[in-house]
Assembly symmetry: C2
C-alpha cells in the first residue's frame, strides 16, 4: 500500500550531497524541515512550538509541515482515506488521513489520545511510546496541538473490544506519524463540543450539578465557520443540498426547464413594499423580491414549464423565527391545460418524492440532527390531503370556532388582519396541527380556494365565485411553506384586477405587456429552501438552515 511511504517529501534531485545514501539524505532533509518548522513555530507570536530539548531519532515522524511543502510541491500518489470510511474492514492496515484535532488528552508522558474529525465524522487516534515508532517527544508534540488544527495522521487500524463512545468510528488508529498542516489559534471563541451539545444534555448535567456551556444562536452565527463544523450543522446543509437536488431532478423528469431570471430589477417587483433599492448606472433599481414576473414571462416565451432556484430579497423588518432578508427561493411556473389542480398535483408528487427520498437517503444526517435537536419524523400521506378554505371554515365551526369567511376581508386593514388571523392563528400553529393531524394523520396538506382579497392582484378568481381564487397554500407542521395559484393570463383582465387594487398600472406595464403577444393559461408556486429544511426537521429557527443568514440585524459574516 502506497500509504506506507514516508509522508514527507523525499529530497529533491538537485541535492548536491550525492555521496550520501537515499535514506540518509531523506533523514537529513526531514531534520532540516523539522528545524525550520520549529523555528517558524517559535517565531509565531502566541503559538508555542515544539521544544527541542534533546535530539530525537524519530523526529521525522512528526512536526509542523512547513508552508513551502503545502504550496503544491509534489504529487506523491499517496492514498488518503476519509474518516467516514474507517471501519473494521481496514483492521491492521496502514491508513493516511487528514482532519482536525478535535480533542487531545495526555495519559502520563507516554500516551496520548487524539480525536480527529473530518466532515462531521470522528476517529480516536492513539499515540503510545514505542521504540522506533513513537518517541516521548512525539507524544508531547501531540498534546501541544491546539484544538481544531489540521493534522495528517498515518497509522495502523485496530479494533478495540469495547465500543468507542467518544468518536463516530468504531476503530482506532495506532499513530505512527503525525504532522500539523495548519494551526488553529489556541483559544477558540466557541468549542465544537459546546456547539454540538443538545439542550437535554445540558439539563441532565445541571440536574447532576454540572454547569455545561450553552452556545446561543447569535454567538454561533458570529463564528459560523466554527459552528458549521458540528455534526448537526454538517447534516443540515447536506440535507439542504439534497432537498434542492430532488426538487430539480423531479421537475426535470417532468419536462421542466431550469432558468435564471435577473435579480437586478428596474422599479420594484410585484409593485411595491419592502425592497432593497439601489442605483443602477444612474437609474433607480431594486433587488427582486421574487422571480414571479420573469418566470411568468418565460411561460409567455414558450418554455412551457420552468423552475428556478435562486436568492430572493426581502427588506422586511420581520424579526421572527421564520423570516430572513435573503433566502433561497424554489420557484415553479407551468402551463395549465384545464385546472389549477395540475399545479397542486406537481406539488403533491414533488414533496412526497422529496420526503421519501430524504428519509431513505439521508438517514445518517437525520440521526445527526436528531441527536442535537430531537424531533419526530414528519407525518405525511401517500396522496396529500387537500381541503378548500371553505371546508376549513366548516371544520373550525365544528370545532367551535365561528368565523365569517368573507365578511371581514373587504378593506385593506382588515385584509391584513384577516390574512394574519387565517394563516397564522387559525390554520397555523399548534391548534391546527392537532386538528388535522388527529383527523387525517398528516402534518403536510394543501389548503386551496383562498379568498381573493388576501391574494396578489395577478391571482385568477374562481370560475363560480369571484370572492374566492384559484390559489393554495401548503403547510408543514402547521406552518405555511408554499404559496401558489393560477395566474390571470388575459392582459385586459390583469389590468382591471391591478386597477381595482389601486396599483399604478404604469409601474407594471412591462409585466402586463408580456401577456399581449399570446399567453397560455398558467400557474405556479414558490417555496423557501430554508423553510423546507427547517420544518422537515422541526428546527425552531430559520437561521439554523441558512449558511450565512441575513436578517434586519445581521449582514455578517
Amino acid at each position: 500500500m502506497s500509504s506506507e511511504e514516508p509522508l514527507q517529501n523525499p529530497p529533491s534531485e538537485e541535492n548536491p550531497e550525492k555521496k550520501l545514501s537515499k535514506k540518509e539524505l531523506a533523514k537529513l532533509e526531514r531534520q532540516r524541515k523539522r528545524q525550520e518548522a520549529a523555528a517558524a513555530a517559535s517565531a509565531a507570536a502566541g503559538v508555542s512550538g515544539v521544544t527541542l530539548e534533546t535530539e530525537d531519532p524519530l523526529a521525522a515522524n512528526y512536526g509542523d509541515v512547513p508552508l513551502n511543502d503545502l504550496q503544491s510541491k509534489e504529487i506523491s500518489g499517496k492514498k488518503w482515506t476519509e474518516v467516514k470510511d474507517l471501519t473494521n474492514e481496514l483492521k491492521d492496515q496502514v491508513v493516511l488521513i487528514r482532519g482536525r484535532a478535535q480533542a487531545i488528552r495526555a495519559v502520563g508522558k507516554k500516551m496520548a489520545f487524539l480525536v480527529v474529525r473530518e466532515r462531521g465524522f470522528t476517529v480516536q487516534c492513539v499515540l503510545t511510546v514505542a521504540q522506533d515508532v513513537v518517541s516521548p517527544q512525539m507524544v508531547k508534540f501531540a498534546t501541544s496541538l491546539s484544538r481544531e488544527s489540521i493534522v495528517d495522521i498515518e497509522g495502523v487500524i485496530s479494533v478495540p473490544t469495547q465500543p468507542i463512545t467518544g468518536a463516530s468510528q468504531q476503530v482506532e488508529i495506532q499513530v505512527r506519524k503525525l504532522y500539523c498542516v495548519n494551526k488553529a489559534v489556541p483559544a477558540l471563541p466557541i468549542n465544537i463540543e459546546d456547539a454540538a451539545r443538545s439542550d437535554l444534555e445540558i439539563e441532565k448535567a445541571l440536574q447532576a450539578g454540572e454547569q455545561l456551556v450553552r452556545v446561543n444562536q447569535d454567538t454561533r452565527l458570529n463564528f459560523r465557520v466554527l459552528d458549521m463544523r458540528t455534526p448537526a450543522n454538517q447534516a443540515i446543509f447536506r440535507i439542504q443540498c439534497q432537498v434542492e437536488n430532488i426538487f430539480r431532478q423531479f421537475l426535470l423528469s417532468e419536462g421542466f426547464v431550469g432558468i435564471h431570471t435577473p435579480k437586478l430589477i428596474a422599479g420594484s417587483s410585484e409593485g411595491g413594499s419592502a425592497v432593497f433599492r439601489f442605483d443602477y448606472k444612474g437609474t433607480p433599481a431594486c433587488l427582486a423580491q421574487s422571480p414571479q414576473l420573469h418566470k411568468q414571462m418565460s411561460i409567455c416565451g414558450d418554455f412551457g414549464r420552468v423552475f428556478e432556484v435562486g436568492p430572493v430579497f426581502r427588506a422586511e423588518d420581520s424579526f421572527t423565527h421564520r423570516h430572513l432578508c435573503e433566502f433561497t427561493g424554489l420557484d415553479v411556473e407551468m402551463e395549465i391545460k384545464e385546472h389549477y389542480s395540475e399545479v397542486m398535483d406537481i406539488v403533491d408528487r414533488l414533496f412526497v418524492t422529496m420526503f421519501d427520498s430524504l428519509n431513505e437517503k439521508c438517514s445518517k444526517e437525520l440521526e445527526a440532527i436528531n441527536r442535537q435537536y430531537p424531533f419526530e419524523k414528519l407525518k405525511y400521506l401517500r396522496k396529500t390531503l387537500r381541503l378548500t378554505f371553505e371546508e376549513g371554515v366548516q371544520m373550525l365551526k365544528e370545532a367551535g370556532v365561528e368565523i365569517d369567511p368573507l365578511g371581514d376581508l373587504n378593506t385593506e386593514s382588515e385584509r391584513k388582519l384577516g390574512q394574519l388571523y387565517w394563516r397564522m392563528d387559525v390554520f397555523g400553529g399548534i391548534y391546527h396541527i392537532g386538528m388535522l393531524n388527529c383527523r387525517y394523520g398528516t402534518e403536510f396538506y394543501i389548503l386551496h380556494r383562498y379568498p381573493l382579497a388576501v391574494r396578489p392582484f395577478y391571482t385568477m378568481p374562481c370560475h363560480d365565485n369571484p370572492k374566492y381564487s384559484n390559489s393554495f397554500d401548503v403547510f408543514i407542521r402547521g406552518e405555511e411553506i408554499i404559496s401558489g395559484a393560477q395566474r390571470v393570463h388575459v392582459p385586459e383582465f390583469l389590468t382591471e384586477r391591478a386597477q381595482s387594487l389601486g396599483i399604478d398600472v404604469k409601474t407594471i406595464s412591462t409585466y402586463i405587456d408580456s401577456f399581449r403577444y399570446g399567453a397560455p393559461p398558467h400557474g405556479g408556486f414558490g417555496v423557501g429552501l430554508e423553510r423546507v429544511v427547517m420544518l422537515f426537521c422541526a428546527l425552531n429557527n430559520i437561521r439554523k438552515t441558512s449558511l450565512f443568514p441575513r436578517d434586519p440585524q445581521r449582514i455578517t459574516p
Copy 2:
C-alpha cells in the same frame, strides 16, 4: 381515446331544461358560449371577432373560449399531446394539442393552413370545408386568428406523401375543432419568422433581390418574450439548463455539497472595484461580486468540497460581447491534499463529461441553434491539454513573438496592460486558437502557473518561484472561461500578501479571521454559465445566452 370527446365542457348539472337530450343540451350550451365569445371579441377594442352572418350548425366546433372556461372550471380528463410527440405512429388517431398560431394561410374560402407551434416544435394543421366537420365560417375564423394566439386544436393525424418543409413535424392534423384560448395583438413588434432567420438566409435572399427583415439584438431583448420563442432560443436555454445540470450531477457524484452563500454583503467583496452599493437597514452594503469569500469559509467550516450556482453582480462599465452586470456563476471550492492539479483534474473531467453529454443528449437543440447560427462542433481532447504559462511563452517565442514573461508586470499600470496583453491578445483570440488547435487539435485547454502579479492577493505563490502562482485559466475557442487557483490558507501569510498589494486588512478581517481556526489547504475555480453556453455554441454575444441580460445600458425587461 378520450380525446375524441368534445373539447368544450358539457352543460352543467344545474341546467334547468331537463327535457332535452344530453346531446341537445350540449349543443345549446356550445352555441351560448360561442355567442358570448363573439360578443366579447367584438367588444375588445382593435380585435375583430367572428362575424355571425348566418347561423352555423357546426358553430360548436370553433370559436373563442370564454374566460370563465379558463378559470379552472373543470377537470375533463382529456388527453393532450405535445407537438414534439406528433409522429406518423399516430396516423389516423384523433389528437388534442395546444399551441400558437404561428402562420395562417387561406386557400380560397374552403381551405386554410395553420402552422401551430409548441415549445419550438411546429405542426401543419389543415382545415378543409366538409359537411358535418368544417364549415366555411370555421375556415374564416381560422384565417382571422392573429398570429401567436394560443389555440386548442382537435383533429386527425395524416401523413402526407411529400416531406413538409414549413414545420418540424412530418405529419399533418386534419382539423375538426379549433378554439382560441387567448389572443395575441394583431400587430406584433417582431415576427417569430424574422427573429428565427439566419444571416445566411437574409444574404441569399438579398442576392435574389429580396430584402428580408433582420431583427437586431437590442430589439430582440426589448421584446424578449417574443424573441425567446424562436427554435434557436428554445434550444439555447434548454442547453443552459443541461450545462447546469451536468455541472451539479458531476460534482455531487464526486462528493461535493451544493451551498448557497449570501449576495448581500457588508463592505465590498474581494476588497473593492465595481460593486453595486446599497443601504442595508442603515448599514452600507453591496452585492456579492463572487461567492469567493463564503465558499472558502465553507471549506474552513468542514464541508470539504462545495459548489454554488448563483447570481454574480459586477457594476463594471464593460460594454463588450462577453460581459454582463449580472450573470450566473458556477463556483467550486475544495480541499487540496497535495497539489492544485487536483482542482484542474476536476475541471478536466467535469468539462469533458459536460461536452460529451451535450453532444449526446442535446443533438436536437444543437441542430436548432446551428440552423440559425451555424457553428463548428467544439474540438476537445479526452484528456485536457495543460500548458504552463512559461511553456506558452516558449511557444510564442518559437512562433516569433518575443516576450519578457515577468519583466513588465511589476507596477500596477503595467500589470493591467500585461494582463490584457497576455490574456486577450496573445493567448486569446484567433492567433491563439490557430496555434493550439493546429498543434494539439483542441479548442479547450488549461494554462497554469500564471505570474503572481496578475492574480488576486489570496492566490498561493508557487513553491519554487514566488513570481509565479498556483493558478490557472481555462480557454474555450480562445476565450478565457474559467479562473482558478490554490488559495493561501495560512492567515499570517494571507495578511502579508494583502498588505503587499496595498489592501486595507481591516476591510477583509472577517475573511482572514475565518482561517484562524484551522484551515485546510484548498483551491477552487469559477465559471460563468452564460459563457460556457456561448462558447460551446460559438455564439457571438453573451446576451444571446442570458434570458434577461443586464448590462450597463439595460436593466429591462
